[in-house]
């Protein structure tokens, strides 16, 4: 491939040299149209510079600045809305926590009230029960106190009746009771 390229280059450069000899080298170095080129360059570039700097570039700069300021404004608005919504969120949170506190307080109060009521009721019932128990105990005590006399009375009666039935004689109750009392005393003495 290298050989081909070299061959081609040689062929072409030979051609080139032959042709350029006809026209006389680089056209750039031919001063025939230099003045004309300078003249037209000055005119076209001058017009381009004046129109760009006076009319077009200020417009583009304006557009860019307007866009920048608009974007900044939008960002500001978005920031404001963000802080606003954050505040709203905080308020809502506060309301919710307040409501929770309130509910807790109400619950606790209700609990206390119920416990108080319960305690009262219990006290009442307990005192009633206590008085009833006291009554019953008193009764029992009375009964216990009165029982020996009654027993002796019953014993006297039964003894008198038994004696009557056995012997057919009416026995003086005071005698019988004296005997019974003696017996009771004896039994107690044992």
């Amino acid at each position: 491939m290298k050989k081909i390229i070299i061959y081609l280059y040689a062929l072409f450069s030979f051609n080139c040299i032959a042709k350029s000899a006809e026209t006389g080298g680089m056209p750039q170095l031919n001063p025939e149209f230099w003045i004309s080129q300078i003249f037209w360059l000055t005119i076209t570039f001058g017009i381009l510079f004046i129109i760009l700097s006076k009319f077009i570039l200020p417009k583009i700069r304006n557009n860019l600045e307007i866009r920048k300021s608009q974007i900044m404004e939008n960002i500001e608005i978005a920031d404001n809305q963000k802080t606003k919504s954050e505040n709203n969120l905080k308020e809502y949170d506060k309301i919710i926590s307040d409501a929770k506190d309130k509910a807790k307080k109400t619950f606790n109060r209700a609990k206390e009230e119920i416990q108080l009521d319960l305690a009262k009721e219990r006290e009442k019932i307990e005192s009633e029960l206590n008085s009833e128990i006291q009554d019953a105990e008193n009764e029992i005590k009375d009964l216990k106190k009165s029982s020996p006399e009654k027993i002796s009375l019953i014993a006297v009666d039964t003894a008198a009746e038994i004696i009557q039935k056995l012997i057919g004689i009416k026995v003086n109750k005071s005698n019988v009771s004296a005997i019974v009392n003696e017996q009771v005393k004896l039994m107690k003495g044992k």
Partner: protein, 244 residues
Amino acid sequence: MAANPMYQFNVYRIGPEIKIGEVDISFTNASLFMVISTLAILIVFNLGAKKKSLIPDKIQLLSELSYSFVSKMISDTAGAKAKPYFAFIFSLFMFVLFCNMFGMIPYSFTVTSHIIVTFVLAAFIFIGVTIIGFLKHGLGYLKLFVPSGVPIILLPLIVVIEIISYLSRPISLSVRLFANMMAGHTMMKVFGGFVVSLGLVGGWLPLGFSVALTGLEILVAFLQAYVFAILTCIYLNDALNLHH
């Protein structure tokens, strides 16, 4: 005649001969392409500047992107002081770019492939920058040739080198653009000539080269316009912010 790769750079008169005194300022094909480039720039950017929508369409976006591109280039290289020269550098960049790009159209003429055009532009920039430098700093502008922190023994040599490099600025600036454009177009013409002379059998390889070169040349057309503009910015930076 078409086989000569230099033929495309020929300048010829279009229309009548115009003369002021002894000076020939006839309208040529070079003038025609200068006018076409100028008109194209004005039309494109006028269309782009007309609309003021918040969300730009394509042509508006194009003009606004070029605006911010050039303005960023200037502020990066020459700082905020170079703002008044924005319009000039913008026109310069666009003019060179459009002339280069119009030159890429087959059978068209590349304005910037002529040394006289690029040299006039470069000389104008050189003279303008020198005047700005002397206006801003007075004779202190000559400090540009005396870099700080150089041993006194070396100073004469450095100053001479600096002066030579400063004076060669317009030449290097103009020759860079002119040589790039001319070489690229000549190469394309050469490979195009290969395609024709080798015909259907051997012409495919140079045809491929030609296609690749077209892409490369479009890149070079943009790059050289950019380099031209950025070097102008750097020269302007030297004149505006004297810190060497």
